[in-house]
Symmetry: C2
Subunit: 224 residues, 2 copies
């Protein structure tokens, strides 16, 4: 369902170029659970942002469900991003002026007219209950702990029931017990048929996946 060929992302800064991702070849089949590890700054978030259509590559190609992403129009990309992909950001990306449930319902609210207010609230409450935050539904991000914000970000990624879940350090701010619960949730979702690509620094978290990749200085390599 996901295939990249020599995917590259470089940034130019003055006269220097920083190649954050170098010719990455990745193949993930529908329903797989893939983990990605590597040192800080090695290019993991860069790859994940490309896969989530949040960024565009400098060169190389990315095929999502068979379609080359570079040939898609802006509205087609936006549609794929909104309907097929759930993204858990490393730094959460919550909106400070919205409550937890409104943040979670945002992907639904974006789909003009498709979900009534009560529908959005019900689905958001349900997603928040799955990450044990039913008692924080009305809090806004500044009134939540670090791990609570992370869980809101997780709930938001799940509310559209996406085919592909891209998780960037989903347990980085969680105590080990809460982390285990989140991994159990991700395994359930994977068992339902959803494809999961997860970046993590924690080897015990990576063990939940069926395949492991490593990144080093922008280069991707599968573990045997």
């Amino acid at each position: 369902v996901i295939r990249t060929e020599k995917l590259t992302r470089a940034y130019s800064m003055g006269e220097n170029a920083i190649t954050a991702l170098r010719e990455a070849d990745l193949t993930v089949h529908a329903g797989e659970f893939v983990a990605l590890m590597g040192a800080s700054g090695s290019g993991k978030s860069t790859l994940l942002n490309l896969l989530g259509l949040l960024d565009h590559a400098t060169s190389g190609e990315y095929f999502l469900e068979g379609k080359p992403v570079s040939s898609l129009r802006r509205d087609e990309l936006a549609d794929l991003r909104g309907r097929r992909i759930g993204f858990i950001f490393q730094n959460f990306n919550l909106l400070a002026r919205l409550s937890a449930w409104e943040n979670v319902a945002l992907p639904l609210a974006y789909r003009q007219g498709e979900f009534k207010h009560q529908d959005q609230l019900d689905r958001a409450r349900e997603a928040l209950a799955r990450v044990r935050l039913e008692h924080r539904v009305e809090h806004n991000p500044m009134e939540l702990s670090g791990g609570e914000r992370q869980r809101v970000a997780i709930a938001r990624a799940l509310v559209t029931q996406p085919a592909v879940i891209l998780a960037d350090e989903p347990t980085g701010n969680l105590d080990s017990n809460t982390g285990v619960e989140i991994m159990r949730l991700l395994k359930e979702l994977n068992a339902e048929g959803r494809t999961i690509i997860m970046v993590t620094h924690d080897a015990s978290v990576a063990r939940n996946a069926s395949r492991l990749y490593h990144m080093r200085d922008g280069m991707l390599k599968e573990d045997e």
Copy 2:
């Protein structure tokens, strides 16, 4: 050097009150290295923010270097906060429009006229080199990875050579190797005589400390 008596922090939300910290009694002597663990939402950041003078308690008292904090004037508090305490935030709190080195130099820049521009740049570069970011000095936060931002936040906390370092999840976004390097740095600083209070979810990180506290539903308890 740090002592709290029945320190309490509650938030009122409509008719409900959330007691994030309940009557915490903590004693830390100069030069100690204390770790604090506990579930997500248990009150760790709340306690650390009170210790760092970033928040004020609802009741109870906090004695910093013998002085009851509730009796200090605003300028005295600001002075203590700027000179004696280095704070590593769980969510980094970097300024998006400043480069890494400018973010690190901010605590020095605040001390009107004390540090010339070149002085600030030198000290910031040195602090960034200690966290292995000498090659990212001019990047601004949006051009840095999650772990790089965390390391900028760490460097900023150290640039004033503080007597007390309060670290909230200092390795949450770091791969294990980089995490080990940061812990080695903190142990060095502790060996130099600085007091460290560190919140962490990682038992192997907590092991670097000489004392361990646990928090649960706002209640603080020392491990025996």
